[in-house]
Symmetry: C2
Amino acid sequence: MSKFIRLRRGLLAAALSVPFAAGVAAAGKPVSAWSAVDPMVGTGGDGHTFPGATVPFGMIQLSPDTAMPDFKHAYKWAAGYQYGDSSILGFSHTHFSGSGHSDLGDVLVMPIAGDVRLDPGTPDQPGSGYRSRFDHKSEKAEAGYYAVTLADYGIRAELTAGTRVGWHRYAFPKGKPAHVLMDLRPSIYDYDGKVLWASLRVRADGTVTGGRSTRGWAPGRQLFFAMRFNQPMTSRMLYNREKDIVYHGFGGPGNRAEDRDGQTGRALEGVFDFGPLDKPLIVKVAVSSVSEDNAIANLDKDGAGFDFDARRAEARGAWEKALATVDVDAPAKTRETFYTALYHAMIAPGLSMDVNGEYRGPDNQVHTAKGFDFYSTWSLWDVFRAQQPLMTLLQPAKSNDFVSSLIASQQSSPFGILPVWAYQGMETWCMIGYHAVPVIADAYMKGIRGYDAKAALDAMVASASYGPYGGLDDYMKLGYVPIDRQPEAASKTVEYAYDDWSLAQMARAMGQNDVADTFTKRAGNWRNSFDTKTGFVRARKSDGAFREPFDPGQAGYGSDFTEGNAYQYSWFVPQDIAGLVTALGGEDNFVKKLDEVFDAKVDPKAFAHVEDITGLIGWYAHGNEPSHHMAYLYDFAGQPWKTQERLKTVMDTQYTPTPTGLVGNDDLGQMSAWYVFTAMGFYPVTPASNEYVIGRPFVNKVTLNLPGGKRFTVSAEHLDASHPYVGQVTLNGKPLDRTYVRHEEIVAGGELKFTMQAQPNKTWGTAPSARPSSMSKVAP
Amino acid sequence: MSKFIRLRRGLLAAALSVPFAAGVAAAGKPVSAWSAVDPMVGTGGDGHTFPGATVPFGMIQLSPDTAMPDFKHAYKWAAGYQYGDSSILGFSHTHFSGSGHSDLGDVLVMPIAGDVRLDPGTPDQPGSGYRSRFDHKSEKAEAGYYAVTLADYGIRAELTAGTRVGWHRYAFPKGKPAHVLMDLRPSIYDYDGKVLWASLRVRADGTVTGGRSTRGWAPGRQLFFAMRFNQPMTSRMLYNREKDIVYHGFGGPGNRAEDRDGQTGRALEGVFDFGPLDKPLIVKVAVSSVSEDNAIANLDKDGAGFDFDARRAEARGAWEKALATVDVDAPAKTRETFYTALYHAMIAPGLSMDVNGEYRGPDNQVHTAKGFDFYSTWSLWDVFRAQQPLMTLLQPAKSNDFVSSLIASQQSSPFGILPVWAYQGMETWCMIGYHAVPVIADAYMKGIRGYDAKAALDAMVASASYGPYGGLDDYMKLGYVPIDRQPEAASKTVEYAYDDWSLAQMARAMGQNDVADTFTKRAGNWRNSFDTKTGFVRARKSDGAFREPFDPGQAGYGSDFTEGNAYQYSWFVPQDIAGLVTALGGEDNFVKKLDEVFDAKVDPKAFAHVEDITGLIGWYAHGNEPSHHMAYLYDFAGQPWKTQERLKTVMDTQYTPTPTGLVGNDDLGQMSAWYVFTAMGFYPVTPASNEYVIGRPFVNKVTLNLPGGKRFTVSAEHLDASHPYVGQVTLNGKPLDRTYVRHEEIVAGGELKFTMQAQPNKTWGTAPSARPSSMSKVAP
């Protein structure tokens, strides 16, 4: 490290220490946005968030794992950590934030003082292995930093993260031999045979490198790492812990149960010894999906030196910059919930590209990103709704990279289609739809154009036309997905139809009218799955008849729907809500039916057999995405005060700034993005329409600090618990009677001002002309 | 392909057709060197050669596999093909030539006419699966070409090879639907769980790509491929044939039992359909150890067009050029044996580098060769003896690449040591010693210097000093490998000592006297394993005592030796044969003891339990390498006529130009190189000494066409069965009394002339001054 760089780092740390000091709430002044973030939110219950250290959209999520149980019990530990647990297995470098299904937990590292036990131990008997007990009181979680005391060893462990490097600082008890154990066996959502192959070696310069390929959610995924220490290793041993090592080969180094320099196999573990230490051990680990060499290059470039505090300050700085896009004035608890939500909304997609631009694509081959950064971790069924639209507003430069990454993935897909649920470049085929299409269309329609639009449209059309995927061949032939040939057919039909509409929007804007016409027509396919007799979306068979018997409350495996039922999915026509109103017999019936959903008396155990359907308000399930736009639908029927009422119920009951404060999986930021939008007073019911449907603000004032120096402020006068209704609305000082604002209006800067009142205003936003324009986007 | 290239190809094919026509023996004129090669030699019995198509030192060995049985029965099928079998499973693209242990058999392709059965069938019931019966009469094997008729389908299958591309031409019976099946499951030396992961896809342009990683001899080895056809595929289906496909993920393309575009899994099979064809189907397949993209690039660059005949002519041309380094005048059968041996001596090491210079190293990471071509397939325990020395003579440019490849491997080895038994860049740890050291030293001492000599010496010293390898830590401490800590300790001790000597030679020549002194001293370590009481090399324990009981005939697992016994290994002191003579009580005792070895009455079943010890003449086992220099040792005791006698016995009994004509594994050309040297009249008993010990010629005349236009001729007057003894010898017209020639004398060009006679000449080569100089290389 050059003197110059060291100097700059010193200055940076000094500069960052100012907001840090300011962050400690002084004289009633609100704490900084960064200080308001609590990464512990969602780490209990079904939130599935992790408490560890990461930077916005980073490659590393360095976090404690309390359990990596077998797949039958994995759901609860989808992020590796559960707040209710009392012991820590180690710190691994990759985690999903809020996923339902799971994987990752790569490169598990555990500091050990004294004797080393190679077995991991169990949560029930934490003293039986290398795991250690801990107390929440010893934990400190900040955006970009996590610390805990490992009680069994008396080790203070601190973690922070750079873009591609995880940083550990371990203070060992005096006089006790210090060790770092690495276990390449465990994995989140673990099962026998999951690790296909692994390697681990200590290079001549002391750098530890290795990697593994796993038969996980993304089968055949490879992850490599490079690790360095700030103090010399005195000895080490690398173990192949497979009970029966049979290589049908010969003995040699690297082919035995123990070796000091290198091992390959399926069950590798390494112990690195440092003897008693006088100062904390700093461990830095870079990862790469491509190769050990790339991991080393990532470590060289992104992880110079051993200044943990400077790295911690940098991580904080990165978050402060990201969070500074929104200034919120609200009570402390609300600010905490808000900024924690904003934090959770900016973890994924994560960078999945090495410093040399190389990344692994869905073909499991190495590619080079040219002119963009490659991002992955795409929970598209979730994030197309609000998380990605939030990024088009707050992080349009990143949106360009996101779109370019989706196009690049399509171009190296064995199937020639866009990602469905991808991470580290690879595909899991999880969930349904081709929702990369609305993500791209939404960005394009909002004027985000820093990618090859022609290639994007080609990729979208290819994805929407790939017959073997999820019944698309039948969908293209019959106009719906038949339930006798495809599970969960009704949800597929309505989601494809919306995706088709979004594709048509972009094609039309590009002047590709033939494509636009084709997909506009397909956008009407939701009607083919809508049963006018029962008034529900439901599944048809290939002979055209609806499948019988039909129970609108039925959900889960074997039902017509993906993680939902007819009460929830029947509202998924964001591209043609006017058509849905008509189909349901007009506005009054529409509202009546919507009320019935929210007000239904539902057995709380109705969805006990279906993971992820939680946060019930009647049939409305806030814990899962199909419900997310529903409260806003009253606006489309001229009764916006009901939207306001329903939103208040959701906001009052579904979010608290506590470990169990998320009622369902955060789903890579979708639950959180819903909160951010809703708190600000509007929500993208129909991504790619450029309209945000107005609910009501839940904060006194919020300012979006937009790129180019524009500022858009939403303020709410008289906002308090006794004034839950919108009275008047002005946009830039002029009365606004419609119940939506356009993207263009926001990014131009300005002020949206609400005056709240105690009683419903039954005149504001009720005129037919006031309704969001997706009322009439698709001809009946 | 440009017009120009096409034109050049046409001319090349035309040019090659001349020698081809000439090759058909006309009016008693000997057939061309190329025509004399019979790739069928060694494909039966224990030869373990393959009959298929390859080019000199190529990356592709495209050959029929008759069986890929489980590991318990794999020895016999180490090359995939056994001459005694009657059915063919398919044609795979990678094979070892003559190895004992095995692997490879990658990218198995089988043409099918009519109905497709997905199961491979068994040799016992060839009609039960996709395998087909065949008749040897329908086979045609040439250097670079193989053809057979698949009787069950009526398909004429022809194979040829380029450097990185295998070419297939399949003539299907008229009217029957043509298919090509690819099976990524089987492997040579197969066992459950060997395939760790595989992928298979059809790209938009019809290119089929994929690859697999296997837990084989080189654990974690990856091999990728790209395949194209000269006619359009009409349909295809890709199968995941694992009985229980559980990915803990979701259904989607690529995650099912069947798909048309892509699959990943452990048991993949693809069927590509072409319908009835009017002309032969040409299939070309490139491989890469690095990636599918590299396989495609290899196919693009090395495999343009679909002109099978031109490719066949090119392969033939490559062999004609390689074989033209030696002109032999001898009876037809001898010429056939000679050129087949020369052919087998130039198959390995094989290129293991893609067209962009990338290759995979022993760390399983991708590296780029700069300034050299990366070769692998290193059966070093075998080939350091004669095959590599033969290459320094005939292919010195390749030797440069070989040495550079060894250095590069050391530099990316997790253990920092040179290859032991490596292929496709990766290590197996098979056999003993660090015999890359004498390979490099031999090349260096012969003036082959196109590599970084400093890096080479560093690599050699590192390899000779790496404690955890094969008891080297004890060897360095005690001066021998102790049998109570390391199996086969006696053979390790004497082989290390020779390797050390070779290292010292090179160090001395480089002026590194400290290194030279250290290793010259270590070269004397053979004495620490030599028991003066019994007169045998045998194993000591760490307490210094020889292990008891001792049976000099004992071999195999648990014995003191690797694939040998004390009768064989006691002669392995090529660096100090003078010392050995003294240790054995002088020349008379030395000769007496040597005679006892050759003349012993040994139960033919003595080595039935040890693979690879075959070709017994007394205790002398020509089928395995420790014996290879023994017949030449009489020269060192002043009785060269006994060397001549013993060589005649070996040559008369151990080589015939028939499928069972190799008495033991060809061992990547070592058995064959022994034949080539011995037939020419001399042999490199002590590689790195630059001396070839004279035996006697077995051909009338042989001319080495050396680089730079030099020619060295060995002629033998009166050579016939009744004149088996050397009478007189002249070198460049002057009498030569010594029993060796130096490398410098050969490469300078000239003539070595033997006059053979009926009776032993007991004066020629008997003077003390006549003996090879390794008499006194190591001080006692």
